[in-house]
C-alpha cells in the first residue's frame, strides 16, 4: 500500500469515527470531539487529493582538492562556494539587481587584482576611509562586509582562492590563480561539503 493510500485509509477511519460519535453518542463534549475529527479528516483527505510533490534536496558535492586539475575546476568550485557556504550571494549580485544590498560584482575580476580581492575578503576595513563627521578622533565606518576567513562564514584560503578564480572567470579575464597554489594541507585534503546553488 502506498503512503498516500495508507493516509487516505487513516483519514477515512477518522471521519468514520467522528460520524459514528455524532450518530450514537449523546455526551456533548464527545460529540464536539467527533465533529472536530470529521473536520480534520476532511481537511486531510482534501490535502491528499491535490498533486503530491515533495521537495528533495540536491546532491551535496565535495570540495576535494585532489580532484582539482585546472583553473576552470577551481572556478567551478568557487562558483558553488559563492552561492552557498561563502554567502556572497546573500548581498551581492552578478549583474544589476533591485534586491541586491551590496555592490554588483559583475566584471569585478577585471577591475580589481587578485591581491586586492583577497585583501577585501579577509580585511574588509583595509581601504575604508575614516569618518570625520563628528567631534573627537575619527572613527572607522562600520564595515558591512564581513571577514570571510573568520566565523561564522570561515572560508579557508583554498576556498577564497577558488572564489577569486570564479570572479575572474565570470569577468572574462584569464584566471591568475593556479591549481598549484592550493595547499595540500591535512585540513585542505579533508572534503568540504558544498551546497548547490539555488
Amino acid at each position: 500500500m502506498s503512503e498516500v493510500a495508507l493516509l487516505q485509509v487513516i483519514g477515512l477511519c477518522v471521519i468514520g469515527t467522528g460520524v459514528s460519535i455524532l450518530l450514537f453518542v449523546k455526551a456533548r463534549f464527545v460529540r464536539v470531539v467527533g465533529f472536530v475529527m470529521i473536520v480534520l479528516g476532511l481537511f486531510s483527505m482534501t490535502a491528499l487529493g491535490v498533486p503530491q510533490m515533495a521537495s528533495l534536496p540536491p546532491a551535496e558535492e565535495k570540495f576535494d582538492v585532489a580532484n582539482i586539475k585546472t583553473a576552470s575546476d577551481m572556478a567551478a568550485i568557487g562558483q558553488k562556494i559563492f552561492f552557498s557556504k561563502g554567502q556572497c550571494a546573500l548581498c551581492h549580485s552578478i549583474g544589476p539587481s533591485e534586491s541586491a544590498r551590496c555592490p554588483d560584482l559583475k566584471g569585478i575580476g577585471a577591475k580589481l587584482s587578485r591581491e586586492f580581492i583577497f585583501e577585501s575578503l579577509t580585511q574588509p576595513q583595509a581601504y575604508i576611509y575614516l569618518d570625520y563627521r563628528h567631534e573627537g578622533p575619527p572613527k572607522e565606518y562600520p564595515a558591512r562586509m564581513p571577514y570571510i576567513n573568520k566565523n561564522p562564514i570561515g572560508l579557508s584560503k583554498n576556498e577564497i582562492l577558488s572564489v577569486i578564480a570564479f570572479l575572474q572567470q565570470m569577468s572574462g579575464e584569464p584566471i591568475t590563480v593556479s591549481p598549484e597554489e592550493i595547499t595540500q594541507t591535512a585540513q585542505a585534503t579533508t572534503p568540504v561539503a558544498i551546497a548547490h546553488a539555488q
Binding site: L6, G11, S44, T46, P57
Partner: protein, 616 residues
C-alpha cells in the same frame, strides 16, 4: 538512537515508510515523550555530531509536533492578554461588571495555559539541543545575548501575570488604575517575548551577513533581518485571532453543555465576544500576510517562487479553502446572531444575508482556483494549454487579491449589519450618513474590482507595488470610515428590539468550534509553508540541512501531521480549561448545596468573586 556527523546519509532515505509514522507517533505519545528524550541525551556529546535521531520516530517529526504545540499555545497566551486587558478597560470605563468578569475569565484561561506553554517550550529546547546540536551551536553563537534577554522577559512576564491575576479582586476599587497598568505591562512584555524568538526563526529564513563586532552587535544585526518585522506584525494579529476564536470555541462548548438559562446567556455572549475578536483580527490579517510575502520576494525571489509558484503552490489553494471556511463560519455566526438574538430580524435581513453568502462563495471559488493545473499531455491539449482557458483567468494573483478584499468587505458589512440590527437611527442626519456609507461601500467595491481587472494588463511590478496596495488601502479606508460613522449613528439610536441572549441553536456552538479549528489548521499549514520555504537549508543559504530529513514532505503527509497537531492542541486546551474550571464548578455546587441556588449555579466565571457574579 543514531548520531550523524557532517557526512550526509542521503537526502531521501527517510521517505520510505513515512506513512507508518502517524501510528508510531501516536503510540510514542501515549508512552510519553520524556523517556525517549532521555535516550537521546544518553549519547555523549561529541563536537562532530551534527544530528541525532531516534529511528522509527524521527527527530524532525518529534520536533514538528512539539514545536507546533508550543507555538500554538504561545500564540494563545500572547493573544489573550491583549483582549482581556481591552475588556477590562471597557468594563472600567462603562461600569459594566460583565466586561470585567469576562476579562477575568479570559485571564483565568491564560494563567492555566501559561505553564503548559513554558513546559512545551522547555521540551522543545531539549529536543533541539539533542537533535540539532550543530545548528543550535550556531544560533547560540549568534543570538546568545538575546537568549539572556528572553529569559529576563520571561521572569518579568511571569511576575506581572501573577500580580495581574492574583491581584484582580484586591485591586478592584481604588487600585484599579494600578491593575490596568499591570495589564498594560503584561502586554508589553508579552510582545517582546514574541518578537525575540521571532528573530531567531526569521533569521533562519532570511539571514543577513554578520560582520565582526561585539556579541550584542552581532545579535542585533542578525535580529534586524528583512522578514523580522513583517512576521512580528503578522503573528501579533494572528495571535489575537487565535485567542479570540479559541475563547469563542470554549464559550461554544460551554454553551452546548449549559445546564440553565443563566449559563446559556453568559456563554452565548462570551461566544459572540470571542467571534467578534477573531473577526476583528481576521480582517487586517491578509494585509499583514501580503506584506510578509512581499518582503520575502524582495529578500529572495527564489524563495518567493518556491512558495507561490513552486512545489508549495498547492498549499495556497488549501490555505484559501481554510480562510474561506473561516470567513463563511464567522459570517454564518453573525447571521445566526441576527436571526436568533434579534427577534423579527430574520425576514428583514434574509435577502442581504443570501446576497452576502453568494458573494462569499463566488469569491472563495476564485480564490481556490489553481494557477496551473497538473495535467497530462492529453488533458493539456484538450484544455488548450496548461492553464484552463476559463479558470486560468481566476488563478492569478490579481484575481485572488481582488476576491480577498471583497470577502473582507463582505465580512465587515456582516458585522455592521449585526451591529445595526434591532435599532432605529433617530439622528437627523441618519439618512445622509446611510447614503454616504452605502456610497463609500459601493464605490470601494467597484474600484477594487476595476483595479483587479486592470491588474491583468500591467506589468507585475506595477500591480504588486501600486494596484494591490491601493486595494488594501481602499478596504482599510472603508473600515475606518464606516466604523466611526456607525458608532456615531447608533449613539442616539433607539433600540426597537432588545438583544436576547441564550437563544442560539446548537449549530452556533459548532460554528464557533469550526472557526477555532480552521484558525489552528491555518497556523499549522503556514508553519509548514514557512519551514518548507527554506527547502534544504537550516539557515537559508548559510547552513545546509544535511540530515536525512532535508527534504520537505508532500502536502498529504504534511496535512496528516497538521491534523494530528491540531487535534492534540485542541485536546490539550480542553484538558487545561477543564482543570482550570474544576474548582469553580465545585465551588458553584457547594454554594448551590448551601441554598444559594440562583447565584451558585453560575459556574467557572471569573474565579467566583460574589460581588462580580451579580447579574447585570
Amino acid at each position: 538512537m543514531m548520531n550523524q556527523g557532517d557526512d550526509p546519509t542521503g537526502g531521501t532515505a527517510g521517505e520510505q515508510g513515512r506513512g507508518a509514522w502517524l501510528a508510531g507517533l501516536l503510540v510514542f505519545l501515549a508512552l510519553g515523550v520524556m523517556p525517549l528524550v532521555g535516550l537521546a541525551q544518553d549519547v555523549p556529546a561529541a563536537s562532530a555530531t551534527a544530528y541525532r535521531d531516534i529511528p522509527g520516530l524521527g527527530s524532525r517529526n518529534m520536533v514538528w509536533v512539539v514545536a507546533q504545540l508550543h507555538l500554538l499555545l504561545a500564540g494563545f497566551v500572547l493573544g489573550v492578554p491583549i483582549f482581556a486587558w481591552l475588556c477590562e478597560i471597557v468594563g472600567w470605563k462603562t461600569g459594566e461588571k460583565r466586561y470585567d468578569k469576562l476579562a477575568k475569565e479570559f485571564t483565568k484561561l491564560l494563567t492555566s495555559s501559561y505553564a503548559t506553554t513554558a513546559l512545551f517550550g522547555g521540551i522543545l529546547l531539549f529536543l533541539l539541543i539533542g537533535f540539532y546540536p550543530k545548528l543550535m551551536n550556531y544560533l547560540a553563537d549568534v543570538f546568545f545575548p538575546s537568549f539572556i534577554v528572553y529569559c529576563l522577559l520571561f521572569l518579568v512576564e511571569t511576575a506581572t501575570l501573577y500580580l495581574y491575576w492574583y491581584g484582580w479582586d484586591a485591586m478592584q476599587d481604588s487600585k484599579k488604575g494600578l491593575h490596568l497598568f499591570l495589564g498594560f505591562l503584561l502586554n508589553v512584555f508579552a510582545f517582546f517575548i514574541m518578537i525575540v524568538p521571532n528573530s531567531w526563526a526569521t533569521f533562519q529564513a532570511s539571514p543577513v551577513v554578520i560582520s565582526e563586532g561585539t556579541d550584542l552587535q552581532r545579535a542585533w544585526a542578525a535580529t534586524w533581518n528583512p522578514t523580522w518585522w513583517p512576521v512580528n506584525i503578522h503573528r501579533l494579529i494572528a495571535n489575537v485571532v487565535l485567542g479570540g476564536y479559541i475563547c469563542g470555541a470554549y464559550a461554544g462548548i460551554r454553551y452546548l453543555s449549559a445546564k440553565n438559562e443563566e449559563e446559556r446567556e453568559h456563554y452565548d455572549w462570551m461566544g459572540y465576544v470571542g467571534n467578534f475578536i477573531g473577526v476583528f483580527g481576521l480582517l487586517p490579517l491578509p494585509f499583514a500576510g501580503y506584506w510578509l510575502m512581499r518582503e520575502i520576494y524582495q529578500y529572495n525571489q527564489q524563495m518567493g517562487i518556491t512558495l507561490m509558484g513552486g512545489f508549495l503552490s498547492w498549499l495556497f489553494i488549501l490555505q484559501a479553502m481554510l480562510i474561506g471556511v473561516l470567513f463563511l463560519g464567522s459570517n454564518y455566526y453573525f447571521w445566526l446572531g441576527i436571526t436568533h438574538r434579534i427577534p423579527g430580524s430574520e425576514v428583514k435581513y434574509r435577502k442581504p444575508m443570501m446576497a452576502m453568502l453568494i458573494i462569499l462563495l463566488l469569491c472563495l471559488g476564485v480564490w481556490m482556483t489553481p494557477h496551473s493545473l497538473v495535467a497530462s499531455l492529453e488533458e493539456a491539449r484538450k484544455m488548450g494549454g496548461t492553464h484552463h482557458p476559463l479558470l486560468g483567468v481566476f488563478g492569478v494573483m490579481s484575481a485572488k487579491m481582488t476576491v480577498a478584499n471583497l470577502m473582507i468587505l463582505v465580512t465587515f458589512m456582516s458585522f455592521i449589519m449585526y451591529w445595526r440590527a434591532g435599532k432605529e437611527e433617530t439622528a437627523t442626519w441618519a439618512k445622509v450618513a446611510r447614503s454616504l456609507m452605502g456610497g463609500v461601500l459601493g464605490v470601494a467595491a467597484i474600484v477594487v474590482i476595476v483595479l483587479g481587472v486592470w491588474g491583468y494588463f500591467v506589468p507585475a511590478i506595477v500591480r504588486i507595488n501600486y494596484f494591490s496596495v491601493a486595494q488594501v488601502l481602499i478596504v482599510l479606508f472603508v473600515m475606518l470610515t464606516i466604523t466611526p460613522l456607525t458608532a456615531l449613528l447608533l449613539r442616539s439610536a433607539k433600540t426597537t428590539t432588545e438583544m436576547v441572549w441564550g437563544k442560539m441553536p446548537p449549530r452556533a456552538g459548532y460554528a464557533l468550534v469550526l472557526n477555532a479549528v480552521m484558525v489552528i489548521l491555518l497556523m499549522t499549514l503556514m508553519g509548514y509553508a514557512r519551514s518548507s520555504s527554506r527547502v534544504h537549508w537550516h539557515i537559508y543559504g548559510v547552513m545546509r540541512d544535511s540530515s536525512q530529513y532535508a527534504y520537505s514532505p508532500a502536502l498529504g503527509y504534511a496535512a496528516a501531521f497538521m491534523s494530528l497537531n491540531t487535534f492534540l492542541f485542541c485536546m490539550l486546551v480542553a484538558f487545561i480549561f477543564w482543570v482550570a474550571t474544576m474548582g469553580d464548578k465545585a465551588k458553584a455546587n457547594d454554594a448551590g448545596g448551601k441554598g444559594h441556588g440562583a447565584q451558585g449555579t453560575l459556574p467557572a466565571m471569573a474565579g467566583g468573586a460574589p460581588a462580580l457574579d451579580e447579574r447585570k
